[in-house]
Symmetry: C2
Subunit: 158 residues, 2 copies
DNA sequence: ACACCTTCGTTCGAATTTGAACAACAGGAG
DNA sequence: CTCCTGTTGTTCAAATTCGAACGAAGGTGT
């Protein structure tokens, strides 16, 4: 009757979830971008690079690993790391075990910048997302989106 | 002791929710972008313009309204509408009640393009997001992210 | 009618992002 | 060792994004 050639459209709840996701995502990125830029002169992407590096052993990661964590293209990362290198927040090292490899490493200046930028950023994330949700909503969101991410990750690497 | 100058950092659950949101958002956008481009030659943004126009009375919206719905900058919308106008999917009309106003209207060709692109897009959204979540997770997500969006919206327009 | 502040959409330059193409290298099968 | 395939990071051109500045017009109060 209706589902031979017709796709399964989204019902009201499904559409609400999907729209909510898209809209919240866009609005949130917009706000965070502005705040970081004004507060520390960093883009969200640059901030995340610093975060991931500081969380890694030795405050350093290979370019490809970093690109995976950031969910960005390799060329995009090359650009941003170059920018961060110019401002002295990140340094490039060559990889001992692989001649092709390039390791991005957080500098002291980068660590300091992160220390200065993090509080304001976290406060805003809290204000706009975390504190708006209940504990239960947070748990469900973490679990659900974790599953979605996992699904997407394994889908990319067959 | 610890919270005089120190911000309230994110605990494990909060961090999981936040990271999940960021990662899922990036991965999802990436996938959808690729699929739409390959399948119909549209960017996600362009697709959303068509969707919002087709959902509006008269298949048309004023530029500012459209920009709000899309959560994008005015200049960004100007660019994209120009692109869509070039390919004949959208047309610009002048607003009867306001000389300054510009109305973007879906053309027959645009309607047809949407009809052709929608099934694949919806199917992918379903596969990567909707069908990965349970009914309860979907409901919580819709409600929670709805609240977040509302919070962000009213925060922008004081 | 007048000044004043806001809104509308566009233009402009700068910054960023992406995928494809590339050269150099790694790793394994034979 | 030698070929072959996959990886790594960069470069390049093209596309997109944004904010600020702009001219033009709306709307309000006086």
């Amino acid at each position: 009757m209706s589902s031979l050639n017709e796709p399964r459209w989204l019902d009201q709840d499904e559409m609400a979830a999907w729209r909510g996701f898209v809209v919240a995502s866009n609005l949130l990125n917009r706000r965070l971008e502005r705040q970081l830029k004004e507060d520390s002169g960093l883009s969200h992407q640059q901030y995340e690079i610093l975060v991931h590096l500081s969380a890694a052993p030795g405050d350093s990661l290979r370019m490809t690993e970093l690109a995976d964590k950031l969910v960005t293209s390799k060329s995009g990362l090359t650009y941003q790391v170059t920018q961060l290198e110019r401002t002295g927040l990140v340094a490039r090292r060559s990889c001992p075990s692989d001649v092709r490899g390039v390791i991005a490493e957080l500098t002291d200046q980068g660590r300091e910048m992160l220390r200065q930028a993090a509080p304001g950023h976290v406060a805003l994330v809290r204000e706009l997302l975390i504190d708006v949700l209940t504990r239960e909503q947070l748990a469900v969101l973490a679990e659900g989106l974790g599953a979605v991410s996992a699904r997407l990750r394994q889908d990319e690497t067959p």
